[in-house]
């Protein structure tokens, strides 16, 4: 009961909620996170964000992350959609949905999915700065590892 997609096209948040919950009445709550491209980074204006991934690994890696979430919580379904390619500020990057009988499981699972996706799925971001056209690969943040590590004790 998991939808996992990597795509260049944008996703339709309302349609993904509808697909996850269609015909079901056993769901008590859906936790969700949507990540979007910010227009600045480190005080510099961003022209575009380019996402690349490792196609042969991305599917299996996202599958492992979803399976781990399903092992930890009683989920009634989840959705992970990640975009790749060149995105502009304000555009959607990633959508995570987790449906569960109760709200805490839904919220926790959504948080877990995005934390693990940020540290375990093979995506890389490159920022193009507005003033100079210069490009720079985004560096991994220690805070992301710390966020993912919080779940280790769980």
């Amino acid at each position: 009961m998991a939808t996992i997609r990597v795509q260049e096209a944008d996703f339709d948040i309302g349609a993904e909620f509808a697909a996850l919950t269609a015909g079901r009445s056993d769901i008590g709550g859906i936790g969700c996170f949507v990540g979007t491209v910010r227009d600045h980074a480190g005080g510099r204006r961003i022209e575009a964000m380019t996402l690349e991934h490792y196609p042969a690994m991305t599917g299996p890696a996202l599958g492992r992350i979803v399976a781990e979430a399903e092992r930890r919580w009683s989920l009634l379904g989840c959705t992970v959609i990640h975009r790749v390619g060149r995105l502009r500020p304000g555009e959607n990057i990633v959508l995570v949905l987790a449906a569960a009988p109760h709200r805490q499981a839904a919220l926790d699972a959504a948080g877990f999915l995005i934390d693990f996706l940020k540290t375990r799925a093979p995506f890389w971001k490159k920022e193009t700065f507005a003033e100079t056209g210069e490009e720079a690969w985004v560096e991994a943040r220690e805070g992301d590892d710390a966020a993912a590590a919080r779940w280790q004790s769980g």
Binding site: Y54, M57, H82, K118, P122, W124
Partner: protein, 91 residues
């Protein structure tokens, strides 16, 4: 010709590792002594100045063997797909 003493590996590079090696994918035959990811990094570093630059700071290089995260001690077998990349930054 591949002898029992060599391994054929498919190597992939992503993000700034690809930009430094200037190659996205290459097939290499390595001697039998190159039996782990750590040894492979040493061997690849000698291929070109770009490869040397890509692997210069090992702490910023991550690896997957056959699409699963690996470390320096992970053993290699002929036919393996070995990918090198920076720490991931998706999400």
């Amino acid at each position: 010709m591949q002898t029992p003493d060599t391994r054929t590996l498919k190597i992939l590079y992503f993000a700034w590792l690809r930009e430094r090696t200037r190659v996205a994918e290459e097939e290499v035959s390595v001697p039998g002594s190159v039996a782990s990811v750590g040894a492979l990094i040493e061997w690849l570093s000698a291929r070109s100045p770009g490869h040397r630059a890509a692997f210069a700071n090992r702490r910023t290089v991550r690896c997957a063997v056959n699409q699963d995260f690996a470390d320096l001690a992970t053993p290699l077998a002929s036919g393996d797909e070995v990918a090198f990349f920076p720490p991931v930054t998706g999400g």
